[in-house]
Assembly symmetry: C2
Homo-oligomer: 215 residues x 2
């Protein structure tokens, strides 16, 4: 499969690299086609990794990962255009974090909205599924780094899309326990969770953890 | 010990009832001394349960639980006065939730502050420890309702106060695994977490769950 990954931060690079390792062709999209991180990445992973624009990644990818930093998501996606995104699966990994006051970050809103919903409203035909935003990049693509049972959360308005994403996350990254939180409104909770994640990370001193829902 | 519980919602009633069962004298404080829920509660639990004003609960309690609904916390505590609170332990269970748009609630802020910090700033001598706000009332006072290991989170600026609270939560309610997230700023994460909790609760259909941090 050809997969588009938008964003060249730690998350985009981790996802793009793991997908190439799994045998997929990956277009890593940046604002500029000469983005040094994307170009360096493509040259390091061999012929299956391609550096391109956001629009290249969205047009060529059959599935799209949105790994753009939260504050820039909507502006960047508008560079892509609705045509390029079509009615594809978009796995939204972004978090609406405001680092303008340093650590800890705050949210860009009061939890009365979410980036995932904003993307869905801006691109009504895209099948947006929120996933992977609740763990660090290394755990996203290798959940076995954390021993024992722990959970991934997803949500979205299209059940078929969520089933496909669950399969992909299982096959590509090895996720075993995926909890469907319902429609995309649940992204408000998944995104607000990240403020809690930051505090656990600061207290533990490292980001290599996840949670398990116990009942 | 005499314990003051501020707030007559499900959380205040659950905590007050359990503390009476444990043999403590409990003053359940409300805005008015004739609050029907407090009066009914006091008559149902026997002589160790007393209905009073917020000020009564704060003055008579050696330890105070703040279970006032988030939007009303600061106004209500100002009815109490700094004198009545003194330099006591205040266990802050409140959540900054805005239900004005119905379910799901949003936060009263962007996670750039917390109720626990606001209380600490308003009453600098009080030893504020945030705890118990991340689970439903029944689990707060009976963690064994959820089988297996799961975690409670606390934070606060005073280490001795946190140690005392940890002991109390263990002895009074049976909490075994208590994770100290550091200074009171971590309450921003603990309070934002509740938006995630709400989504898990809606997806599961009941509030009888908690999380375990896995690493």
């Amino acid at each position: 499969m050809t997969i588009g990954v938008l964003g060249t931060g730690m998350v985009g690079i981790a996802i793009a690299t793991k997908l190439v390792e799994r045998g997929h062709k990956v277009v890593l999209g940046a604002r500029s086609t000469s983005n040094p991180k994307a170009v360096e990445w493509a040259s390091s992973v061999g012929p299956k990794g391609i550096a391109g624009s956001f629009r290249d990644a969205a047009s060529l990818g059959e599935v799209i990962f949105n790994c753009i930093h939260g504050a820039g998501v909507l502006d960047s996606l508008h560079l892509v255009s609705a045509e390029a995104l079509g009615a594809k699966l978009l796995i939204d990994v972004s978090n609406p974090l405001d680092f303008s006051q340093g650590m800890p970050p705050s949210l860009l809103h009061k939890g009365d909205h979410s980036l995932a919903e904003a993307i869905q409203e801006a691109f009504p035909y895209v099948k947006v599924v929120k996933a992977l935003n609740t763990i660090t990049a290394g755990v996203m693509v290798e959940p076995g780094h954390i021993p024992g049972d722990h959970d991934l959360f997803i949500c979205g308005n299209d059940s078929d899309a969520k089933a496909q994403v669950s399969n992909h996350l299982q096959n590509w990254f090895g996720w075993k326990s995926i909890i469907d939180l319902g429609s995309l409104i649940a992204a408000r909770g998944m995104e607000a969770y990240v403020l809690f994640w930051v505090q656990v990370m600061l207290a533990k001193g490292n980001p290599n953890f996840n949670i398990k829902v116990v009942s």
